[in-house]
């Protein structure tokens, strides 16, 4: 291992993604390697909303001397993104004309991008294609790392595929990377992660066009993570008994989909049946027990027939 300091000016790597993808693991591996090569390293991260699928990012800066722990806008040397929309969020932070862009093409649609949260409903999400983005940066890689990792047997190793790609842009040797990865991933997953790392390196060596972004779910349109139970929503039927409703407004204010209102008689009514996911919050909270949500096909059919 040569421990020669080659960077007088700090090298800036920005790792971004959403909660649970392993952004922090990637930055820890990188920071450790840099430190073990005698560089001064500063790392800072924000993962406040990580548990809710919110954005996570981590700044890693290394060089002979690093002062600030955050990377100034426009001076990112490598942007490593584990999720496509997060990649786009940060693409303007890349050093113009010089930086490298690496991103998984996986889409994870955030809940707030779905105004209508029924399964299969349309969701707002970045429309830019990988070609459009790659053409805007000096050097860009967009790959379907998640599928590559899944084919190796563990989707969660997608971050290591990207690490493989990242390793080709920095000076550290392959052994150094493998050693660090083995120390940071859960012991049972060392093998699959090392394979994933190899795949990332191999992918970088190949010559290929960029794939179109792949939406990773089993339906034709994006489905929000963690809402599978609302598959049943096709069968939701809401029963509101106007004779019992006392116009307290609880259901109207508490419905997460905002699809209830008080009509001109001040009785609760469903304004937009397509938006109702059948979550039952209105049923639970109606103090007058005036709302019943039917959520199985049979129950919904029976309720619809009166």
């Amino acid at each position: 291992m040569d421990k020669k300091i080659t960077h007088k000016e700090p090298v800036n790597v920005l790792v971004v993604g959403v909660g649970g993808q392993g952004v922090i693991m990637v930055s820890k591996v990188l920071a450790t390697i840099c430190q073990e090569h005698g560089y001064q390293v500063k790392q800072s991260e924000v993962h406040g909303m990580a548990k809710r699928g919110g954005g996570v990012f981590s700044h890693v800066r290394f060089g002979e001397q690093v002062y600030s722990p955050t990377i100034p806008k426009g001076s990112v040397d490598v942007l490593l993104a584990l999720e496509w929309a997060e990649a786009l969020r940060w693409v303007n932070h890349i050093r113009p004309g010089e930086g490298t862009f690496i991103s998984d093409t996986q889409h994870i649609v955030p809940p707030f991008a779905c105004r209508n949260r029924k399964r299969g409903a349309e969701a707002g999400y970045a429309r830019e294609t990988s070609d459009q983005i790659i053409s805007r940066v000096n050097k860009g890689f967009a790959l379907d790392a998640t599928t590559m990792a899944r084919e190796l047997g563990n989707e969660r190793a997608a971050n290591t595929v990207l690490l493989g790609l990242l390793s080709t842009t920095l000076e550290f040797s392959e052994d150094v990377w493998c050693d660090a990865i083995s120390r940071f991933v859960p012991p049972k997953t060392v093998d699959v992660n090392l394979q994933a790392f190899e795949q990332g390196r191999a992918w970088a060596a190949m010559d290929h066009g960029t794939p179109e972004p792949v939406v990773h779910n089993d339906g034709p349109t994006p489905v929000v993570v963690g809402r599978e139970e609302h598959e049943m929503s096709d069968f939701v039927q809401l029963d509101i008994n106007p004779a019992w409703c006392k116009s307290c407004d609880i259901c109207v204010k508490m419905c997460p989909e905002r699809c209830l209102k008080l009509d001109d008689q001040l009785k609760a009514v469903l304004t937009d049946p397509d938006r109702c996911t059948g979550c039952r919050i209105c049923e639970w909270l109606c103090p007058d027990l005036a709302i019943t949500v039917h959520r199985t096909p049979e129950a919904a059919r029976a309720a619809a027939q009166g």
Partner: protein, 286 residues
């Protein structure tokens, strides 16, 4: 990942339908619009359903108050007793009929003011009864007089310049008096409240559950606490869920926040069993 979504609801015994637990001919009930007592009633029925209790084996004993009136709406054995005394009636009933699930519905005034003595002795005795106390910080039924749980500075018809008396923490009271299960929850967390009530009913011994309810019409109006949606949400923000296993002891920003969840659980001897075995052996001896 895709196919493990059969929720408890569909795989459980039968989907919960509150209607099958109500005396529907008495509806709409008499509570004011947005009164939290109605939400608590659903949670209690839901808990009974998930425990698979036989309606004929449920005995609801209630006191006097808007809270006490709830018993009348339940399609089970119900016993609407006198002000402050539901626990006394329940004690007799449970000793005579240990096969029944005896559940007391009471209010803060009913349980802590006129009925305070009955509460402490019920806790001390540890008979297998569940006591659900609906705390709306006021005597709702009689027009909004101050109660032992009224927060300081709050306006009621009997505290026109704001309450100057100190406030009871009913859960601490019950625990100190010996209740072997104590818990607290707000109505807006209905599924959590249901689970707490399930645990309480399931518990062998005296279980006390304080439900933070809202009296929108009287207490809310007098204190400018907003309408029902605002009231139930602000109640939640004033609580401190014990989700970190008690690791976070004090909240600097909300020093008065009350803890929610199961606050005490112990397996002290249940009085009914003690009583019956003592009687059996004394008969043998005679």
């Amino acid at each position: 990942m895709a196919k493990k979504k059969q929720s408890a609801e569909t795989s459980g015994p039968k989907e919960f339908d509150v209607m099958s637990y109500l005396r529907r001919d008495l509806f709409p009930h008499f509570l004011c619009p947005g009164c939290g007592h109605g939400i608590a009633l659903r949670a209690l029925m839901w808990a009974a359903h998930e425990l698979g209790l036989d309606k004929d084996k449920i005995a609801i004993v209630s006191g006097i108050g808007c809270s006490g009136r709830l018993g009348a709406y339940v399609d089970a054995n119900t016993f609407h007793t006198t002000h402050g005394r539901p626990l006394a009636y329940a004690t007799g009933l449970k000793l005579a009929r240990p096969d029944l699930h005896v559940i007391v519905i009471t209010g803060d005034g009913d349980c802590l003011a006129i009925g305070g003595n009955h509460l402490i002795h019920a806790c001390r005795r540890n008979l297998d009864i569940t006591c659900m106390m609906l705390n709306n910080e006021v005597y709702g039924m009689t027009g909004g007089q101050v109660s032992p749980t009224t927060s300081q500075d709050r306006y009621t018809t009997t505290t026109p310049t704001g309450n100057t008396e100190a406030t009871f923490d009913s859960c601490k009271l019950a625990e100190a008096a010996g209740a072997s299960f104590v818990g607290r929850e707000v109505t807006v967390q209905t599924p959590t409240l249901k689970n707490l009530l399930k645990d309480a009913i399931d518990h062998k011994g005296f279980s006390f559950v304080e439900v933070i309810s809202d009296c929108t019409e009287i207490y809310g109006r007098k204190n400018d606490l907003g309408n029902s949606p605002e009231m139930i949400l602000s109640q939640k923000s004033q609580m401190r869920p014990d989700s970190y296993g008690g690791v976070i002891v004090d909240e600097p920003f909300r020093p008065n926040a009350l803890p929610t969840g199961v606050l005490t659980r112990s397996d002290r001897a249940e009085y009914g069993e003690t009583y019956r075995s003592t009687m059996a052996s004394s008969k043998k001896g005679a």
